[in-house]
């Protein structure tokens, strides 16, 4: 079964230990100034945002059916069996369709580089392969971020809501959004107030394009035969007219 992260905004104290651990794992610079930044960027692959009195962690959501993996023309993204969506920079041509298409605006770009890559959280795929939890989970002092089997995380989230209904907004973000994600959120306030996108369909997005794209072989084959037929008809008509011109002229 795929793994997932569970982030409980009500337990988060905004200490940003997860940011520090994440920067350390990716060998990215981290200082007070970067800690202040409220958006994801090529040097900040997870961010603890402040929304009023609540905190909210933003990062790649590791969708069950990732939009990025479906739109990438060179197949640079893979949904691994363990759950993380990983990116192969050696394939990437830099079209940035993944960034444009991602409903969570998670992938970011190295705009300043002359050989830029897309960057995003890979849910510590290597650590998970080795049976360890993610770096951010390990660093979290309050248990606001947990990682483990997705079903177990959902069960844990449901338990927390059931045990303290007054303390939680009665939904788990990520169970259905865009077909389900590998990052689940709990909050005291509605998720829009944490800056999470609303209006997302409950179904995965990739079929939106695939439903059309799957007709390409039909259009190509039927269309070619049709146009070939038209070509034959119109040219045949002319050939017949030309051929009939002479004998007709001779007979009459």
């Amino acid at each position: 079964m795929a793994n997932a992260l569970l982030y409980d905004s009500t337990l988060c104290v905004g200490c940003k230990a997860c940011e520090t651990a994440c920067a350390g794992r990716w060998k990215l610079p981290y200082n007070e100034k970067i800690a202040e930044e409220q958006t994801l960027s090529d040097h900040k692959l997870t961010v603890v945002q402040t929304h009023g009195e609540s905190f909210a962690r933003r990062m790649c959501m590791h969708c069950a059916e990732p939009t990025c993996a479906s739109v990438c023309p060179v197949g640079a993204f893979t949904k691994t069996a363990l759950g993380p969506v990983v990116y192969d920079a050696s394939k990437c041509i830099g079209c940035r369709y993944c960034m444009f298409a991602c409903p969570f605006q998670a992938p970011v770009y190295e705009w300043g580089s002359t050989a830029p890559k897309v960057r995003k959280c890979d849910q510590c795929h290597d650590r998970q392969m080795a049976g360890k939890v993610t770096a951010c989970t390990e660093a979290c002092p309050t248990g606001a971020t947990l990682s483990g089997d997705r079903d177990a995380m959902i069960a844990e989230a449901r338990k927390r809501i059931a045990e303290n209904p007054a303390g939680y907004y009665p939904r788990i973000y990520g169970i259905q959004e865009a077909g389900g994600t590998g990052m689940l959120l709990l909050s005291k306030v509605p998720f829009e107030q944490l800056g999470m996108p609303k209006n997302l369909p409950d179904r995965p997005l990739p079929p939106l394009t695939w439903n059309v794209l799957s007709f390409v072989p039909d259009i190509a084959s039927v269309g070619s035969v049709l146009l070939g037929g038209v070509y034959w008809l119109t040219h045949r008509r002319e050939a017949v007219a030309q051929a009939e011109d002479r004998p007709q002229g001779g007979v009459s």
Binding site: V71, I93, F100, T114, L208, S224, G228
Partner: protein, 388 residues
């Protein structure tokens, strides 16, 4: 049905203005060259106002989306002349193919600027993801560039008087023209499919499951409009007579295709209950009206018959249709995206420099080709002459 001679402004009178155009041309090209230097040595961030929230700007919205659409005259005219075999349109076929070929080459140049790793533009050849619309567009554009090169080759062969390659092209012509129309159908519509994946980001006045079909039909309309536009300018610039009856025919076809587009667009909006959104006082809504009016105006004028004696009015109709098309593509790709993503994107001057540079290069190369290649005065080697 001989081409009627119509009075057009004389070239001599424009001679003084031409030097001004030349100054503008070199100014644009210098700016584009400087931008190229920055782009290559300092990266995308140094020349664009793109951001993680707004990763596609006017290089995609105008250079690629509009560039491919404005080049649609090539496949439309090829279908009319070669497949439907309406031979009287042949005199305007070659300029239309050249316009298309230049358009597509410039789209590739634009991609070399916009792609983060232009050195890897060949990757989709060997790294496949058939589920990606972008993958399909990449293949179609690449194959169609090849088709256009072969469709344009006879013009060069005729100039060089190379008989054998000419005959080889004529031999493969039927499958070639059919492939060209099919490839165009696929990727003109697929450019619309690219936006099917962002239901939560694109404004509902534009997000529609019909995007691929709407993109295809509007591409045909703008292909016709561009052919009228380009014939008008060729007639003025090269002192040749206007192919007036042919352009009138294209004008009528333009009115029909635009009407189909507009009816389909309004039906789609009403079916998705999105028409009421057109009453909100928002910038997107105003731009929606700009787009619709620019497309509806030529329909009304063309159906009224007012263009019958006024070539200039027909030309203005084509300009309106082209601007309406550009408005539509920019609304889908730039302005319709801004509100939800929370990004404010205004292109940097360097982005505009590249876009203008590509347009200027297109005009300049067309001019050169018209000067040195048999673009207008070609004599079709008919099948009868070929066999003797």
């Amino acid at each position: 049905m001989t081409t009627a001679a119509l009075p057009l402004p004389r070239l001599d009178a424009l001679r003084r203005r031409i030097s001004i155009w030349r100054v503008i041309f070199y100014a644009i090209m210098s700016a584009a060259l400087y931008t190229t230097y920055l782009r290559v040595f300092h990266g995308l961030g140094s020349v664009t106002n793109l951001s993680d929230q707004f990763p596609w700007g006017i290089w995609i919205g105008f250079d690629v989306l509009c560039g491919v659409g404005l080049a649609a005259g090539g496949f439309t005219l090829v279908a009319i002349v070669h497949i439907f075999h309406i031979k009287r349109y042949e005199p305007i076929l070659r300029p239309a193919i050249l316009t298309a070929f230049l358009g597509y080459l410039l789209v590739v140049v634009a991609l070399m600027f916009d792609l983060g790793r232009p050195d890897r533009i060949w990757h989709p050849l060997v790294m496949w993801n058939p589920r990606s619309v972008m993958f399909e567009v990449a293949w179609c554009v690449m194959l169609y560039n090849t088709v256009l090169a072969l469709e344009f080759a006879p013009v060069v062969f005729e100039r060089m008087q190379w008989r054998r390659p000419m005959r080889m092209i004529q031999f493969i012509s039927p499958p070639l023209v059919i492939a060209g129309v099919i490839l165009s159908t696929l990727h003109q519509s697929s450019l619309g499919s690219l936006y099917l994946i962002v239901p939560s980001k694109l404004h509902p006045l534009w997000y529609s499951p019909l995007l691929p079909l709407l993109f295809y039909i509007s591409a045909i309309s703008v292909g016709l409009a561009m052919t009228i536009f380009e014939s008008w300018h060729s007639a003025r610039a090269f002192g040749k007579q206007l192919e007036w009856p042919l352009l009138m025919g294209l004008g009528r076809l333009l009115a029909v295709v635009l009407s189909v587009f507009l009816v389909m667009r309004l039906m789609d909006l009403s079916r998705r209950h999105a028409l009421s959104l057109a009453l909100e006082p928002r910038i997107e809504v105003y731009l929606f009206y700009v787009e619709m009016l620019l497309m509806a105006a030529p329909v009304l004028i063309l159906f009224s018959g007012a263009t019958a004696t006024r070539p200039r009015l027909l030309y203005l109709c084509s300009v309106s249709a082209i601007l309406g098309f550009i408005a539509n593509r920019l609304n889908v790709s730039v302005t319709g995206i801004q509100a939800v993503t929370g990004a404010t994107y205004v292109p940097r001057w360097t982005e505009i420099a590249i876009t203008l540079g590509l347009v200027a290069a297109g005009f300049a190369i067309f001019r050169l080709a018209a000067k040195h290649l048999p673009l207008f005065e070609h004599t079709p080697p008919g099948p009868v002459r070929e066999s003797t």
